[in-house]
Amino acid sequence: MTRPFLSIRNIEKTYGRVVAVQDVSLDIAQGEFVTFLGPSGSGKSTTLYAIAGFLQPTRGDVLLGGKSLLSVPSNKRNIGMVFQRYTLFPHLSVADNVAFPLRVRRQPKAEIDAKVAAMLKLVRLETMADRMPAQMSGGQQQRVALARALAYDPPILLMDEPLSALDKKLREEIQIEIKRIHNETGVTILYVTHDQEEALRLSDRIALFNAGRIEQLGTGHDLYEKPASRFVAGFIGNSNFLHGKLSRSDRSITLPDGTAIQGVALDKVGPGQGDVSIMIRPDHFRLHNGEAAPRLVGTVTDTTYLGEYTQLTVLTAWGGALSVRLPPDDRASPVEKGQSIALTCAPLDVRAF
């Protein structure tokens, strides 16, 4: 493997006895879009701030192109950043905001003017060069902040929940813009969010943070289809968690009503057998067609037709509620409330923890 572009090595940050981040390691390739996803307080922003230089990690190192960043002050790191809050300089116009990092670097005026024009074109705000920040919408302000952060061609762009203050529709619009700008500039992006959909939409890879650690690192597909832990399974997408008894001899799990599922994915279960937690995605269920192996019987207590799929709530024999999403082809014979239903799923889609 070639030398990683940005290498985060065993970062740890403690405040007194409180551990904010522990032993976070991550290698990022040039031009990659990596998202730190996780609930608030999981250490994702702390890790980002350590890279920005706003806090010094208690232990560990951050290397950019093989050189440690930790002894370099923030203003010399040449890193771009877009913040969660609006951080445009309130007394400067849009053009002056974008020009600020270039003026600080004492670049010639002609170069600055050309670069500011190019950056405003990149974020499609050419016509707003003379506006003041207070006269702009939140979405426009964040686009100017993006232009300002990219004006000095930083090797890395950090984004700390830049869209969390915007409404959903605007958020999706700017996500598309960010994706386009990433493709056009090829800049390496580290993006922090607590919104799984945003992470899945934008990222090449996702680092899922929990309690100060990276719980799993991988593509969105990896995290959804092969969650490494119960936490990942619960955080990404919707899941049904059931209790079962594992028998190692025939790789089967027995549900409380006696239904046995054979050949489940066991790579995340420790040695031994007995009580385990198993996860089945709502969209992995199918109507039982008479021959498939596991046959899980329940009563439909609620159905919601949502076009792309039908959402069911199914009460199992042992009294647990299952969330089930049936795709269109299973909709031919409509399922009705109160009806008894038999479900099945592919054993490899059942994951035990």
Partner: protein, 266 residues
Amino acid sequence: MLLDFNRLGGLRVALSAIAFLVGAFLLLPIVVIVLLSFGSSRYLQFPPPAWTLRWYEELFDNPDWLASFATSFEIAVVVAVAATLLGLMASFGLARGRFPGKEALRALFLTPMVMPVVVLAVALYAFFLRLQLNGTFVGFVIAHTIIALPFAIISISNALEGFDKSIEDAAVLCGASPLEAKLRVTLPAIRSGLFGAAIFSFLASWDEVVVAIFMASPDLQTLPVRIFSTLQQDLSPVIAAVSSILVALTVLLMAVAAIFRRGKPA
């Protein structure tokens, strides 16, 4: 709103009348002084029998009054600068710092505003005797800066607390050194607070009389001190003229402060 002025019905008249009376009570003495300064009567007869600019002429012909004007103005300008600079540094500490006893320190900084001025004056007088600062320009500036500092700190720390530190962080990541980020981003962003601090510090010194009486020497008297000592000898309409100029300058500065506050970015 529960107490909407437009829905008060008959009470509106009463409320307007009370507001008018309070306003008149506050403003009338000032109006009378200004009118008297243009009146021809030597004994401050009201209403004035005739109008004249004689007292202003007398005032501008008297080198003692002019010297006091200059003294007051110079002291107030230096105090405005000193209190604003000190207030800025103190405000950064109070708004950004994290240390035990911060709230106690904030209260301590504001004590000159609540402590009886005469106590402060006596204490400073006794202290300055040892340092031989009584009757000196430096003594005046130090004493008035102490009085002005709470106004400066309140004005600047309000502005600083309303300013998102992330904006300064953004400037630092853009390549500005921490000092450069403060000079080029933070200070311009809180400029209305800085101007407010300067104006209120200037005024705090400009019309201060108690401490000034203790600090003054025959050669170094601020305007309020000279008004006070002149009043003890005779009641000349020149004093009304001086007072009118004091009032005019104060109103002017308050207006400037109000304009700056309105111009503050939302």
